[in-house]
């Protein structure tokens, strides 16, 4: 199988804190690999190494076979969609301008940018006629995150990174967006690396789950394997499933 992203003995330390230690795994074309872990387990740190927002202090991360440090960071980032919990839409741009950002930066003709923006907004359930001219502050949290997803898909990047994208949403909106994520995945078959601390979300969305614990990979398994896993950290996460059903 072809690996789109490859972590090779990656370490990251800042001062005397070791955030990642000897992390190795491959992300294969078309799969959604979920990095699951507690706060501070290093999952976001690992994610940010893929689009070179951070650089490893040891080992290397390969994207399409080339170390991130050898990529032109601008080229690398424009090939990778990025969705974060706080969305980070530009408050002074309209929704259409936010979604069309990367295509515009890539020099697409304005008509093509507009067409692409309309298509994407429709795909994430925000009809263009109604939303294109609005500003982010006029949208709800869930709508904003839909725009965030549309923006990440805009230039049709082969790889997508998600950093707890649905973490700040209410449970109902969260489930809606998770379902939409699955629908979009069926449609586009993108490769995705997805960070979450929610085991339920990991089991629902992941083709494989990488469990991070104290900066190390505790387990790398399919959802089915994960349910039967025996490591203490995996058990701890699986125990959350039982607690929640009582609610």
């Amino acid at each position: 199988m072809n690996s789109v992203v490859s972590f090779q003995h990656v370490s990251y330390r800042i001062g005397n804190r070791q955030l990642l230690q000897d992390l190795s795994f491959d992300l294969h074309g078309g799969e959604t690999l979920v990095l699951l872990g507690r706060s501070g387990s290093g999952k976001t740190t690992a994610l940010k190494m893929v689009n070179r927002l951070l650089q490893p202090t040891g080992g290397q991360v390969l994207v399409e076979g080339i170390p991130t440090t050898s990529w032109d960071p601008i080229r690398l980032r424009r090939r990778i969609g990025y969705v974060i919990q706080d969305v980070g839409l530009f408050p002074h741009f309209t929704i259409a301008d936010n979604v069309g950002l990367v295509p515009r930066l890539e020099g697409w003709p304005p008509a093509a940018v507009q067409e692409r923006t309309q298509t994407l907004l429709a795909q994430v359930g925000l009809p263009s006629v109604q939303f294109a001219g609005r500003y982010p502050r006029e949208l709800s949290g869930g709508q904003r995150q839909r725009v965030g997803v549309a923006r990440a898909l805009a230039a049709d990047p082969p790889l997508l990174l998600f950093d707890e994208p649905f973490g700040a949403l209410d449970p109902v909106t969260r489930v809606e967006l998770q379902q939409q994520f699955l629908a979009l995945r069926r449609e586009f078959s993108k490769t995705a690396l997805f960070v979450t601390h929610d085991v339920r979300e990991a089991l629902l969305l992941g083709s494989r789950i990488g469990l991070l614990h104290n900066g190390q990979l505790d387990l790398l398994a399919t959802p089915d394997e994960f349910r039967r896993a025996s490591t203490p950290e995996a058990r701890a996460f699986l125990a959350c499933l039982d607690v929640k059903t009582e609610g």
Partner: protein, 204 residues
């Protein structure tokens, strides 16, 4: 009285000229400097410290100190402009820095992650979002400069201060007011006008 009226007009124009030139220089230096400081954290303490010290020097003394300085000092307008620029610098510098550093972390991170170059990040994201704060600094600096510029007359810089110093010397309240009132009116108008522009920007 006709003579006084036309002199008021002349000196008011001269005063405006002093303020305009000083503010243009201060804006260019202050905004550029503020942007550079966002990229060079270690410099911040030193530059802001120096600019702070400049502000604490009494204005009359600063004008005086500049007279004996070779090349840049001496008697006349350019020395006055230099002193006014030094005064106006701090609020512009500080607000530019604060405005850019105040841009939401998630917005900046997205901009970088979308593959914006340094230049695009600055021109399309940081400066537009910081513009209100920067303008507030320019407004404070402008109003202060209009007042401080009256002291320029003490070193031969001209402007409305000419009336004030002449009035002080001859204990003539009318003359003092002939300088003070136009200066106050200009300051109020500038404050109102720049405040209006600031609010226009806040609509974004």
């Amino acid at each position: 009285m006709d003579g006084l009226a036309s002199e008021v007009l002349d000196l008011t124009l001269e005063h405006l000229w002093l303020v305009l030139i000083s503010m243009m220089v201060a804006c260019v230096v202050g905004i550029t400097g503020g942007i550079l400081l966002t990229r060079r954290p270690p410099w911040r303490r030193w530059v802001l410290g120096l600019a702070n010290i400049m502000q604490t020097v009494p204005s009359l003394a600063l004008f005086g100190f500049l007279i004996p300085v070779p090349f840049i000092g001496g008697i006349g307008k350019h020395t006055a402009i230099l002193a006014l620029v030094l005064y106006a610098l701090l609020p512009i510098l500080r607000n530019t820095l604060a405005g850019i550093l105040g841009v939401d972390r998630a917005v900046r991170e997205s901009a970088v992650a979308m593959g914006m170059t340094e230049r695009q990040l600055l021109l399309e994201v940081e400066l537009p979002l910081a513009s209100r704060t920067i303008l507030a600094g320019v407004r404070v600096a402008t109003v202060t400069t209009i007042g401080t510029a009256t002291i320029a007359a003490a070193i031969g810089g001209g402007g409305l201060g000419v009336f004030i110093f002449r009035g002080l010397a001859s204990v003539d309240t009318t003359l003092i007011l002939a300088g003070a009132i136009p200066a106050a009116v200009i300051a109020l108008l500038a404050d109102g006008g720049l405040g209006w522009i600031e609010r226009k920007f806040s609509a974004v």
